[in-house]
């Protein structure tokens, strides 16, 4: 099948998904989500003022009318203004999303690269002391709370009680050097918290691959360990690895960075989303939910294309 047609088919197939996700999330938001009314009211409100605010927020309109308006906003990217700060939501997303991406990218890439590397080593020497060491360390890494890791790293690396090399908070990035200055500790925290999960997953995938016939055949032909691991095992295990990578991205960007952004004072989209949830800022929430759904569809498409590139058998289907 031609690639453009394939992409088009996938995109069209994504529309029901987007409609489903937005409908369900909007339903939950309207009937079970936080109510912004009482956040906006003064200290001694009257019933009339409560009604006024509800009217201003559009809470008095029928559900379907609100949902259709929401879809229209998504389609036109006219997402309105934040009910809390008044900032245009498109501007808010454009301002915060790149920061979150820049924040999590190094930790995400290094966490996964190290995970693959350690998974390869553990799988190659499975059952041996190295395997047990890596898996034991992974379990410990998985058991420690993200929050504890953040506070400990801040204390060790960012205060005079430790080495005090890095800032405990801030994001005044003006170039590569300042970027490294601000991103190092958050990235270390992200690596430490994800490495255990990544390593265990990759080790399982790679160990399974190592037992396959084609690996034994390669070894019989006298391929070196490096050739076997990187040329045969890793390449053939790419499909589950790609799947994990692709579908981690939205979660990492939207929710994974929340703690990092809160504790390091980084104005990214995770914190903006969290504040929208706790304060009931439905305009921001609707936009984030809708765009996350769109992101999932696009990443699914990207994952499919990557599968085709990584494994010719997929392309032949």
């Amino acid at each position: 099948m031609k690639v453009p047609g394939y992409i088009m088919r996938k995109l069209l197939a994504g529309i029901p998904l987007i409609l489903g996700v937005t409908f369900v999330s909007f339903l939950l938001m309207v009937y079970f989500g936080p109510d912004k009314t009482y956040e906006l009211l003064g200290k001694n409100p009257t019933t009339g003022q409560i009604e006024e605010v509800r009217r201003q927020l559009g809470y008095d309109r029928p559900f379907l009318q609100r949902y259709v308006a929401y879809l229209h906003e998504l389609a036109t990217l006219d997402l309105g203004h934040s009910e809390s700060s008044g900032e245009p939501v498109t501007g808010l997303i454009a301002r915060t999303l790149p920061i979150s991406l820049a924040l999590v990218l190094p930790g995400f890439v290094l966490g996964n690269a190290l995970g693959v590397l350690l998974g390869l080593l553990a799988a190659w020497w499975r059952g041996g002391w190295l395997d047990r060491l890596v898996m034991g360390a992974s379990v410990i890494g998985m058991s420690v709370s993200f929050l504890v890791i953040i506070i400990l790293l801040q204390w060790l690396l960012c205060t005079p009680w430790g080495v005090n090399w890095f800032p405990a908070r801030g994001w005044a990035v003006s170039g590569f050097t300042s970027y490294l200055w601000y991103v190092t500790v958050p990235s270390l925290a992200l690596i430490l918290v994800t490495l255990g999960y990544n390593t265990r997953f990759y080790r399982a995938v790679l160990a399974e691959e190592l037992g396959r016939d084609h690996v034994r055949t390669a070894e019989s032909f006298g391929a070196t360990p490096g050739r076997v691991l990187f040329g045969h095992v890793l390449r053939n295990a790419l499909i589950p690895i790609l799947t994990r990578l692709m579908f981690s991205i939205p979660l990492i960007v939207i929710s994974g960075s929340l703690l990092l952004e809160s504790y390091f004072g980084i104005p990214g989209i995770g914190k903006a989303t969290f504040e929208a949830i706790t304060s009931g800022d439905q305009t921001v929430l609707k936009a984030v939910v809708g765009l996350t759904a769109v992101m999932f569809v696009l990443l699914q498409l990207l994952a499919d294309i990557c599968y085709r590139l990584a494994d010719p058998r997929v392309a032949a289907l």
């Binding site: 936080p34 109510d35 912004k36 009314t37 009482y38 956040e39 906006l40 009211l41 003064g42 200290k43 001694n44 409100p45 009257t46 019933t47 003022q49 006024e52 201003q56 203004h81 809390s84 700060s85 008044g86 900032e87 915060t96 506070i151 801040q154 204390w155 960012c158 205060t159 005079p160 009680w161 005090n164 090399w165 800032p167 405990a168 908070r169 801030g170 994001w171 005044a172 003006s174 590569f176 050097t177 300042s178 490294l180 200055w181 190092t184 070196t224 490096g226 050739r227 990187f230 040329g231 952004e261 809160s262 504790y263 390091f264 004072g265 980084i266 104005p267 949830i277 706790t278 009931g280």
Partner: protein, 605 residues
């Protein structure tokens, strides 16, 4: 063919990264500003939602708003008890003999900052009409104001102006600009707290051009005439710079209420004769997480912090009196002050299970039930566990920071007396079988849950079956507020920050007509209380008024309408290089214009 070659590239990348990292790190220091710039990084434990004065309902928003905008009055920086001072106003108002008409003159030559909202981008002079417009905005439904309650029903014609469609072209008889620099406010009835309301961020003066120009985004585009102007704001911080056109008014220690006995040693004497603001750049970091704020303070990323309760052990050498540990006293400036409000648990008296009841016998039994709960509540344990033992427990609803506070009276109300509590239950026929289920509401967070568990333990000691004390949790504060506004919660745990230093502000919490959804969330309804409230409403501060307030406090306590209360002691630490007396109560954000940096200290540092 060998495929390990890519590893060589990896080596290069790792080496490059390591070099860059070494370049990047080193002794931790924030990016430096221009040489000679006086810069200060403050911290708050929450973020403002909006910088529109009409929506500056939180302490955090108010902190920033009063620095970006002008209000007619402000609180004197150093005076304790708190006292008002003219700000944009030229002086204190002329008040008519009947106390209903206030004439206020504003300063000449005060200008809004330059902004694209103005024709030509150049800020114009602030006029009396701007003040009139700013107050009218609170009564325009489109504003979604949080501050209208301060003036509702109090200014002649203002509520009618709203009812008639909030047309800004229509005048309000009680709110007029007599000329460019004279304001006349006419009240419907005496309201001695009016000047306090004009010192709130809600009363800040905004230009109509900016509100029209920015629309909803006005919340993030402050255009004021305050000592600072906003350079940037996001969810983590606000950066402000000095407003170069801010009026030159020399600082006078005597006028600000300097007390050498308690305030010398802070370096405040060096401010005499100089014109605030003293900072070129003011950065405010919003850090809700205690551990992050503490680490940021230790690392030097922020220069001021409210000390998290988890660090009290480390910071204090003594609790009574509050004395900092030597290492902190040497390294930092230190301050401790009572908050301007209190924490309480109200009974919802509209709930017939614990409150008012159509049957007089049952109503009397319910009162005994509430009084038993009050007596079984151990404030000392609450203070020890949640406030490190340095909160101040007080009886009723006049907190220690209010001038009308009675240090000696009503102590019986907060005395833990389990025997009497049990006796009360027995005498009124309450047994474990017929005791009602207590529903204790709170917004979901760990501390609130812990407080609930402690309350349940107190009730178990009283003889309440454990399964009859239930938590009602709400995901957000908004949901919680909605529930108690709808009278759905039996026991409402909350706190109240006083808006101004006058007990009227807490007395109105039990005024019958303010019942839910108003601020009287306990739905207290006592004719004698309401009569006294109305009687005191028009009185200027006096012994007679204080006597009435205390009588009203007594009524609330004898009806056992609330389990109250405790005022928290707040601890502050700041860099030694700073000259300041931080305040979180009524002076609030106004103190930031008076913060200075010891230049010599910085150079030596």
């Amino acid at each position: 063919m060998r495929r390990l070659a890519p590893l060589q590239y990896w080596n290069g990348v790792v080496l490059l990264g390591a070099c860059a990292l070494l370049l990047a790190c080193g002794p931790n220091s924030p990016p430096a500003g221009p040489p000679g710039e006086r810069s200060y990084v403050h911290s708050l434990d929450g973020a403002p939602g909006s910088l529109d004065p009409a929506r500056a309902g939180t302490l955090y928003a108010n902190f920033l708003v009063v620095n970006l905008y002008d209000t007619l009055y402000r609180y004197r920086y150093l005076a304790r008890p708190y006292a008002l001072a003219p700000n944009l106003a030229e002086g204190m108002p002329e008040v008519s003999p009947d106390g209903l008409s206030y004439t206020i003159r504003i300063k000449h030559g005060v200008r809004f900052i330059d902004d694209p909202a103005f024709p030509g981008g150049s800020g114009r002079e602030v006029t009396a009409e701007d003040f009139v417009y700013s107050i009218k905005r609170h009564f325009d439904p489109a504003t979604m104001t949080q501050g209208a309650w301060l003036w509702q029903g109090r200014i002649v014609g203002l509520d009618e102006w709203k009812a008639a469609g909030a047309d800004y072209a229509r005048p309000v008889p009680g709110l007029q600009a007599l000329d460019d620099h004279t304001i006349r406010i006419v009240l419907t009835r005496e309201f001695p707290q009016l000047l306090h309301t004009l010192a709130q961020g809600f009363a800040a003066v905004v230009p109509r051009e900016a509100v029209d120009h920015y629309g909803p985004a006005f919340s993030n585009h402050p255009v004021g005439s305050g000592p600072f102007r906003l350079r940037s704001i996001d969810s983590a911080r606000a950066v402000m710079v000095r407003n170069p056109d801010f009026r030159r008014e020399p600082f006078e220690l005597a006028t600000e209420g300097f007390d050498p006995a308690s305030q010398s040693g802070l370096g405040l004497e060096t401010l005499e004769g100089r014109s605030p603001p003293f900072l070129d750049r003011l950065q405010v970091e919003f850090i809700g997480e205690d551990a992050a704020r503490w680490n940021a303070f230790l690392s030097g990323d922020i220069q001021f912090t409210k000390v998290p309760a988890t660090q009290f052990d480390q910071v204090l050498a003594s609790r009574h009196p509050v004395v900092p540990a030597a290492e902190f006293a040497e390294a930092f400036g230190f301050g401790a002050s009572l908050e301007s409000g209190f924490v309480y648990t109200h009974f919802n008296l509209a709930d017939p299970r614990v409150g008012y009841h159509p049957e007089p016998t049952r109503e009397e039994r319910n009162r005994a039930l509430r009084c038993a709960i009050v007596k079984a509540f151990d404030w000392q344990r609450r203070n020890q566990i949640f406030y490190y033992g340095i909160g101040q427990v007080f009886p009723g609803i006049i907190p220690p920071v209010a001038p009308e506070f009675d240090a000696a009276g009503g102590q019986e109300y907060i005395r833990y007396d389990l025997a009497t509590a049990r006796q009360l239950l027995r005498d009124h026929g309450w047994t474990p079988d017929n005791l009602p289920v207590l529903e204790y509401g709170f917004p979901a967070n760990v501390t609130e849950r812990q407080m609930f568990e402690q309350f349940r333990a107190f009730m178990e000691e009283l003889g309440w079956p454990r399964d009859k004390v239930k938590p009602l949790t709400y995901a957000t504060y908004g949901d919680y507020a909605r529930a108690y506004a709808r009278r759905e919660i039996m026991l409402i745990t909350s706190s109240w920050n006083m808006d101004y230093p006058d007990a009227e502000n807490t007395m109105q919490l039990f005024f019958g007509p303010n019942a839910s959804p108003g601020s009287n969330s306990s739905n207290y309804n006592n004719a004698e209380y309401d009569r006294l409230y109305r009687l005191a409403a028009g009185m200027l501060p006096s012994e007679e008024r204080t006597r009435l307030y205390r009588r009203m406090n007594q009524l609330v306590m004898s009806d056992c309408a609330t389990i109250s209360g405790i005022a928290r002691t707040l601890l502050f630490l700041w860099d030694r290089d700073l000259v300041m007396l931080p305040d979180r109560a009524f002076v609030g954000g106004y103190f930031l214009r008076f913060v200075d940096v010891r230049t010599a200290g910085r150079e030596e540092g």
